[in-house]
């Protein structure tokens, strides 16, 4: 390894629930390599400077979605953000809009709870005989490329929670179930194998869901996987309204 030519001033949020009333800032000056990502700098601090620093990370290739943090105030996947994009000094904070457990680690239980509300799995109207036939013939429910294309973009979410950190509605309305959860619910509504759209649309018309969105579009701006949750949420609005209007004129099937 060559001698590092450059130094970087890193400000990191620290919070120890046993000692600190509120989060504080700790500063480090570390040598960096030109090809480092922000995550490499944090790992360097943890390994070489201050082993008490807590942060989450795993895959280092923008797939696991665990290393999301605020970098200079903007939610970023730290394994996908080059240090070269920042010069001299950098400020790293835990994801905004989440309770802080320790240092750069946030509590994601609230998200997991909201996530379940949209029933992010394939719902079938009822167990039907042809379901079993379809399974027996092809081994699974067949789906054309066009049918897959209808929702594929919205299924690329890695639950990194950057969208929750960017969303002004998440910050101010605790009931709001948030961009990723709605996008995932919408993804199942668009799935040709799914028959649960009506059920999810009822959820979508409940408190703190699609209509709470004020289309700031921040979620789509920060999404590292180009899922475009804002598009999903606003298509879901239209879907929920169309479903509501249908309910006014047509009697509910089986109801």
């Amino acid at each position: 390894m060559t001698e590092a030519a450059e130094m970087m001033h890193v400000e990191v949020t620290r919070f120890d629930p046993d000692q600190d009333e509120v989060p504080k800032v700790q500063e480090y000056d570390i040598p960096i390599q030109s090809d480092w990502k922000v995550l490499d700098a944090i790992n360097y601090i943890k390994d070489e400077v201050d082993s008490s620093l807590s942060h989450r990370w795993s895959c280092r290739m923008a797939v696991c979605g665990s290393c999301g943090m605020m970098v200079n105030g903007e939610p970023k996947l730290t394994c996908k953000t080059s240090l070269a994009d920042y010069s001299g000094s950098i400020k790293i904070e835990p994801l905004a809009n989440f309770p802080i457990v320790r240092d750069l680690v946030v509590d994601i239980d609230g998200f997991m709870d909201k996530f379940r509300q949209v029933k992010p799995w394939i719902l079938r109207a009822k167990e039907r005989a042809e379901d079993m036939e379809a399974l027996n013939e092809k081994g699974t429910f067949s789906q054309s490329p066009a049918e897959l294309g209808a929702f594929k973009q919205f299924s690329m979410c890695i639950n990194c929670l950057l969208c929750y950190s960017a969303c002004p509605v998440v910050a101010n309305e605790p009931e709001f179930i948030g961009p990723a959860a709605i996008a995932l619910g919408h993804r199942y509504n668009l799935d040709s194998r799914d028959e649960g759209a009506r059920e999810r649309n009822e959820t979508f018309r409940g408190e703190g869901t699609v209509f709470s969105c004020s289309f700031a579009n921040e979620c789509s701006q920060v999404c590292p996987k180009n899922v475009d949750p804002a598009a999903a949420v606003n298509q879901a609005k239209l879907g929920a309204v169309i479903d509501w209007a249908k309910g006014l004129v047509l009697p509910r099937e089986g109801a």
Binding site: P168, V169, N172, E173, E207, F211, S214, A240
Partner: protein
């Protein structure tokens, strides 16, 4: 209050959406001519003298367009101001603020209906 708003949400959102799309499209032309070109003397005010203005406005299509021009921007406005209030940290007052704004929009819309029908 919040519960009622929740039930009415699809209607409110449709009115908001109509205000955002159709309201914007209507306002552009009306503001350009009635709000700017005539007052600034670019278009002679005779173009909208009483006889002509009344003739245009009192036709069936004229009435419908004028009602849309009055009511739709109100709903776009009320809904946007509500979300603006929420952005400034008003989650606790959201139900009250929303109700007040939509009531105002509904009230002025009713005046709009009276004005347009009474032409």
């Amino acid at each position: 209050m919040k519960h009622l708003l929740l039930i009415l949400e699809p209607v409110i959102w449709l009115l908001f959406g109509a205000g955002l799309a159709l309201g914007t499209m209507l306002l552009t032309g009306f503001v350009l001519v009635v709000g700017l070109a005539i007052p600034m003397g670019i278009v002679p005010p005779e173009a909208l003298n009483y006889e002509r203005a009344y003739g245009l406005a009192s036709s069936f299509i004229g009435r419908v367009i004028l009602l849309a021009l009055i009511a739709l921007p109100l709903w776009k406005g009320a809904h946007h101001v509500r979300s603006l209030a929420l952005d400034f940290g008003g989650a606790e007052r959201d139900g009250a603020v929303g109700s007040l704004l939509y009531l105002a929009a509904a009230g002025v819309s009713v005046l709009g209906i009276i004005a347009v029908v009474g032409l």
